[in-house]
Point group: D2
Chain length 354, copies 4
Amino acid sequence: MAGNTFGTLFRLTTFGESHGVAIGGVIDGFPAGFSIDMEAVQEELDRRKPGQSAIVTQRKESDTVQFLSGIFEGVTTGAPIGFQIINENQKSSDYEHLKEVYRPSHADFTYDKKYGHRDYRGGGRSSARETACRVVAGALAKQFLTEKGIDIFAFVDQVGNIRLSEDDRIDLSETESNPVRCPNADVADKMQVLIREVRKEGDTVGGCIRCIVQGVPVGLGEPVFDKLHADIGKAMLSINAVKGFEYGSGFEAAEMLGSQHNDLLNPDGSTQTNFSGGIQGGISNGETIFFRVAFKPVATLMKDQPSVNNRGEEVIVKGKGRHDACVVPRAVPIVEAMAALTIMDHWLRYKAIN
Amino acid sequence: MAGNTFGTLFRLTTFGESHGVAIGGVIDGFPAGFSIDMEAVQEELDRRKPGQSAIVTQRKESDTVQFLSGIFEGVTTGAPIGFQIINENQKSSDYEHLKEVYRPSHADFTYDKKYGHRDYRGGGRSSARETACRVVAGALAKQFLTEKGIDIFAFVDQVGNIRLSEDDRIDLSETESNPVRCPNADVADKMQVLIREVRKEGDTVGGCIRCIVQGVPVGLGEPVFDKLHADIGKAMLSINAVKGFEYGSGFEAAEMLGSQHNDLLNPDGSTQTNFSGGIQGGISNGETIFFRVAFKPVATLMKDQPSVNNRGEEVIVKGKGRHDACVVPRAVPIVEAMAALTIMDHWLRYKAIN
Amino acid sequence: MAGNTFGTLFRLTTFGESHGVAIGGVIDGFPAGFSIDMEAVQEELDRRKPGQSAIVTQRKESDTVQFLSGIFEGVTTGAPIGFQIINENQKSSDYEHLKEVYRPSHADFTYDKKYGHRDYRGGGRSSARETACRVVAGALAKQFLTEKGIDIFAFVDQVGNIRLSEDDRIDLSETESNPVRCPNADVADKMQVLIREVRKEGDTVGGCIRCIVQGVPVGLGEPVFDKLHADIGKAMLSINAVKGFEYGSGFEAAEMLGSQHNDLLNPDGSTQTNFSGGIQGGISNGETIFFRVAFKPVATLMKDQPSVNNRGEEVIVKGKGRHDACVVPRAVPIVEAMAALTIMDHWLRYKAIN
Amino acid sequence: MAGNTFGTLFRLTTFGESHGVAIGGVIDGFPAGFSIDMEAVQEELDRRKPGQSAIVTQRKESDTVQFLSGIFEGVTTGAPIGFQIINENQKSSDYEHLKEVYRPSHADFTYDKKYGHRDYRGGGRSSARETACRVVAGALAKQFLTEKGIDIFAFVDQVGNIRLSEDDRIDLSETESNPVRCPNADVADKMQVLIREVRKEGDTVGGCIRCIVQGVPVGLGEPVFDKLHADIGKAMLSINAVKGFEYGSGFEAAEMLGSQHNDLLNPDGSTQTNFSGGIQGGISNGETIFFRVAFKPVATLMKDQPSVNNRGEEVIVKGKGRHDACVVPRAVPIVEAMAALTIMDHWLRYKAIN
């Protein structure tokens, strides 16, 4: 059973490979009567695309989304929303040498063994190209949620060993004003310096994204298996290069005492601290939801690596193509999109019984 | 839409509250013709139950599982397997004082707001009691997987600030020989000392569990949304008190360079390192799968805490009942169970197309 | 992938064989805060059980349902509702001779080939015994729907060649007052005469059930695949012995002209005729929903039949056990139950977006 | 929760309205390594399209399918297969007068009430145009099944009161050689005469399609809810204008005795008769599967009808546009497509456990 559908009541099914004709998807379950801001959708896509600055990949994709159904006179009809993004600017010849080669820590080996017949160009279906479709659907979900008073903000809080600390001032309005999408200008500078050094070496580096969701009402989440943070975690872990997820106090909670960690209640239902990250017993409690997502360094390096091909022969994988030294800044809109998809799904699940 | 079912082809649906008549579930999709070792199932349950040592809660539950269908003459028939565990040794009076009170960092508040009418006794459906049902189903899945050459081992690798380091020797055969389920006797001692101190203070402490899965063949996992590690992550995050999940290099990958992090391939398809944690592109690559799960300190303390009740009045939550100072050792069989459920599900999903 | 779960937002998962320990299920998604009338549930079960009259099977089952969770102080909590019915009065020795034999037009052959290992006693999982679980869940759904103004009435409108015609007066209050559940006393008498004759011969006969659903608001149904009548049809076809389903004008529509068949609209949205059976484009239009379900004659005869065993040898299947000559009267509460499950599910699906 | 996805392991999600930019879908779960015959897919589409003869609608659509992903060098990769069909030859002005009008027995009223905002042109999402997407996916499924030895043949066996009887000779090779797709030339002639007469009156007439599936192995079907015939029935009932479904002996079984109806077994497992229609206990038994689907007369007439608009005012719906007098011949490939989707899904579900 394949796994290209996300969500239950609000569902996204995607298709498309890096160098195929097009990528796209179907959004099913978007309520009728909602006015779609098409420009805002394109803006989200533009946030994700490559070639935006000197620190990210120079592949130029216009990433223009075309809606094919489900929206009539700018308003949703309740019918499924089909959309596509035509692939362009593929340099398939960049991949000719990889036809039979397994790149280290890529999905080449596993896809070949699992499926047998694979589209090797640009990583095929395993490429992060498909995340553009998630951003389209997430953009629609974000508009819906904003109307319900729910807003989502993600930003880079770590690149390599450069990390936003508790003491660093965070100004969310600065996130989009620098290429690393870090909401603190000084730390952002340090991150850029690191990325440039790494890129010069033909190497890559990992990082972390933190995400904040404000305005979620009490009651979202469906225990015991579809707890809100469990579904958010699955959503994040499905993004390319993600190695870890934590919410609220996260892994730090493992070192804490209950007397330190418990969020005491105020008479109005708010809490005095928020180690819970806005979710208790798997259900939102009205406080700000926040979580962190860890990304490994991208596996494609701009320097040569030893590897093997599909006949077990040793080969050299040459550093070619156009790739990010650090994928994390571009992943910020993807994290926001997956958060939007998950929360909109849970919003509808909640509404079915309230 | 409620969320009490886990899995797609191999499905577990559970029911039951802490102080209800019984807890139990239905396992659907277990292939026919498999001989069930009933004693082994009961042994898994016994690993999970309280009252096993001085460091865990003294609530005595016999936790005897009774199978009601789906197994004929000891062999599965392919029909759904219904089972139940009768609740006993409930001291409902321990909870009388909590009828209208919201305990800090518990699910009392969120359940009350979401559902309106809640069984407050022992935490009701939000209690970790329901994890016994997961262990039953996981025990069956473990037997199935073992026959396919797949084995699952979890153990405690952190309690508070006591942590197994890279240099500590790990002997998995020692896991069950100490109450903290740590596979290194010295570190286990330190952990027990810490837990006793915490318990004496009426406090609680968090920790981490690491899990290893050996023998998974290449090809399990369904990108792009049902990647193997994403489903494992959701499974773990659905366990009570879990705050974080990471696999392979996890959060450490964020600090690494690609040249350090890439797992170079050997001609036979194995890798020289395993930062990938056995999963690449969301699909198993034949290497050992390993991951870590972070647990917060249990919210119920044996000391008084200030809180509020459902009328917004300030109250004192007295430390009563019988609770763990550290829940992590008891969670080891639950982590193994959830890993077994996830991997068996993916094994069947893989088999449908291979 | 097994198929023992029905529904999406309102979900029933059942388990249990005819001669196993118990049958039962889990109802997930029943909204919280609803007062359950336990006696009414037991009454529905009693309507279904055998031994109620001289024309049906004499197997005595008390069919007492026991709820295990999800209902606290008589009110639903939103948690999954587990329930069971202990099997009693099984005469397993009645089936000893069938251990290796395939009864004609039964599921013995197909279950043996599909699963390999089967519980042959009483038909195992293929027995209509599991429909008792559907009636339990349907009884809860009926109470919920009645509160929303939706009522479901099924009755027998055909046994063999005895059929309620257009001219026969129907009084729904008479349905329960005769053993065949036909709402016209005269036709009911003819049906009973036929059934007795058939039973005397050791034979069986088929029939049809018609079902009426009143009070369904406009808007239920989810095109294009989960149209309301398509889900109702699947629900009915899943009942043992069902061979056909039609709604509104049904198969008669094939012979009609559009000018005859169209339901003209009144200014208030009601229709002048109702060949549509209350559903247009797969969505309810506010008119009465009605449909018919065809049942084949039960395959177990009280006379001997030639057959084969699992070694391909010819055998005689002796007429033994206790069986209905006509199963249709007992199926009336099952049809109502499946209608209730389907409509409640669609009611919740509708509510999620309205 | 919307319902635009069909299937579990083999899944089709469709989108698209009659007069939107395009219709299309995503096929997920098609196994990798399969060679697709693209021409055969287009042929199936061509069988469905209008304008093929004087008895069907004259709307000209080229219905050319374009595949966007999932097929590389003509072979499936296991990745989701996205496809689209650009809408052309829409005469949207034909529908301007219907903007606020509810056509009798159409979905206009129910869609307007359910969704509020609807694309009224050509019936929008409720139009049978979307069935072209089902035919595309069904064409792929048919190729897969044919390779497994499973073949599907549907044909018209009734138009109005003209019906193929038991005595009429059926030659499946004649089905495509006449516009009504009836496999008996004489009966086909009578049907065409009737359709022409009806068309001349500006009226429409209903009919029935019978479908035969050969070569299904023993064991497909997942009781108790996803019985093979129940899923086939739901698939058929989801097709526009369908009012009834029966399989095997169907509604006739209601009049039969068990001694007449039972299919006695031969030593090799085959049966002497086949009233079971190839399915027993919801599982295929290796015999030919056959079923009938009843279609109502199309609601759009070429003569005027009285109706109301969305303000409750009485209006006249003029007979305009280009419509079929009898939709049944064009529905034959749709019935085959839905049968293929259902059986392929069950084939994969079966394979997961065998």
